[in-house]
Amino acid sequence: MAHDAGTGIPELTAGDEVRRRDFINIAAVGAASVGGLAVLIPLISQMSPSADVLAESSTEIDISQIKPGQAIKGVFRKQPVFLRNLTPKEIAEANAVSVASLRDPQTLAERTKPGKENWLITMGVCTHLGCVPLGAGEGEVKGEFGGYFCPCHGSSYDTAARIRKGPAPKNLEVPEYTFTSDTVVKIG
């Protein structure tokens, strides 16, 4: 090379030509940046749910003892899940509502399995801020729409567990589930 690397004497580097030192600078800083950013991946990812938490992602629940009009609370991913055997009257009430008038428009049929419309299976987690609504336990208030009522901030759900009143933005979430037999439901 014609000039002494490292001193960068201006008169030797006139014009726009890329000097060797510029290249080394950019390459070094670039490599260090990529390395630094790569280190962030494990630092951030360690916060996400770990393998054992994710492994609890399915649960089987026996529903043979639930009579029409009754409900039980199960546990799915360490959160409550409501399994409710709707009465014909409750089904009729849910179907009588104009879907277009709902905040989160869904029919009861969309929230249940074909041929099993009486089985309303939802998470027991209010879509507002995550409290457990009342209405699945014996003697609990069901709110003015006969479904569930969240005592934290007053959200009321109807007999299809759809949000009808209060601050919650969505219907109670329907988890993925299958009937493994007539009496057992596998959630997740």
Binding site: S48, P49, V125, L129, G130, C131, V132, A168
Partner: protein
Amino acid sequence: MSFPWANHYNPQHPFMKWMDEKLPVPRLVYNAVGSGYPVPRNLNYWWNFGFMALACLGIQIVTGVILAMHYAANGLVAFDSVEHIMRDVNWGWMLRYAHANGASAFFVVIYIHIFRGFFFGSYKAPREMVWLLGVVIFLLMMATAFMGYVLPWGQMSFWGAKVITGLFSAIPLVGEPLQQWLLGGFAPDNAALNRFFSLHYLLPFVIVGVVVLHIWALHIPGSSNPTGVEVKSESDTVPFYPYFIAKDGWTLGAFLFIYCAVLFFAPNMLGHPDNYIPANPMSTPAHIVPEWYFWPFYAILRAFTADFFFIPAKLMGVLAMFSAILVWFFLPWLDRSPVRSGWYRPMFKWFFAVLCIDVLVLGYCGGSPAAEPFVMISQIASVYYFMHFLIILPIISSIEQPLPLPFSITEAVLGKDETAASGAVAA
């Protein structure tokens, strides 16, 4: 440091001279909180709360480090380990009550400190950075207090964690993955408890760091004072030590008297009985409320019950709650009045009084059940809260006719008595 007439550090003892050459920490202390820091002579008792806040931070760190020696951050035993502290550890009950009530005391002091700033215009130039750093400290305090409240793993701990992390799920698109990332699961559990403990131990030391910056930024222009008139000459100031150290010491004693009265005679006055029930993910307590110091912001969160401009009610509530504090960051530029002190602002002082009442009303509503009439009252009070900062302050700062300011701090203290104020002849 800040004024040319400040006393100069001049060590006499040979060891102190040697130390001053090698590591001048005594010089730093002398200039920061000793005789080398001149302070306006007219500071009133509202100026004592910064020192008290520092004392509270000290109490919290000392008691907190000790509690961490006996506490176990594991969902299976966390609740029991707190009961172990209460029943078995020597003096454990006192240390835990000191820490729990210390948090409340810290917030009492810090709210007075903040409202002192509101009234006397402490946020105005040249002290904007002092104010901004103070808001950062307040945000860090809120995060620390929230995570600390989760650690006993009682019902209020668990459901508080669930509701507050649930706020993040309101954010569109990334909300739910973000909440799961924060919790390390689908609901608060061991992963969340552990990381909250880790951060609860870390953040107080971050607060210490920001407090150092807060005081550093304060000492560049020097302390403000109740007249809002800047220091003009040596007669306007006295050295921080001994004058204000002595005064701060007296109010610290008064503070400790009240603090100990609560600690020893009503330690559960500000707590919730529900938090003596172990965390149960299957059952929500009938009436979830945060600790009292979050009530005004909780009321704003709950004030949004209907969708608003296509923004869902839930997201709107969360945005409003965070904005209620973030608006403080803009305060130095929203209040354009050149007069700092509320004493000389005939319109401002009434609106300040209304703001104080408004925040107390919000606090009362935030601690009450989410039912009428509290929802409607919190809606009105929330609207007023934002109106105060975004509309009322900018308007009154342009139409208000301030009262005449004193020529100097000395004149404000001593009147125009030339003999008494003879020290006012500046060099």
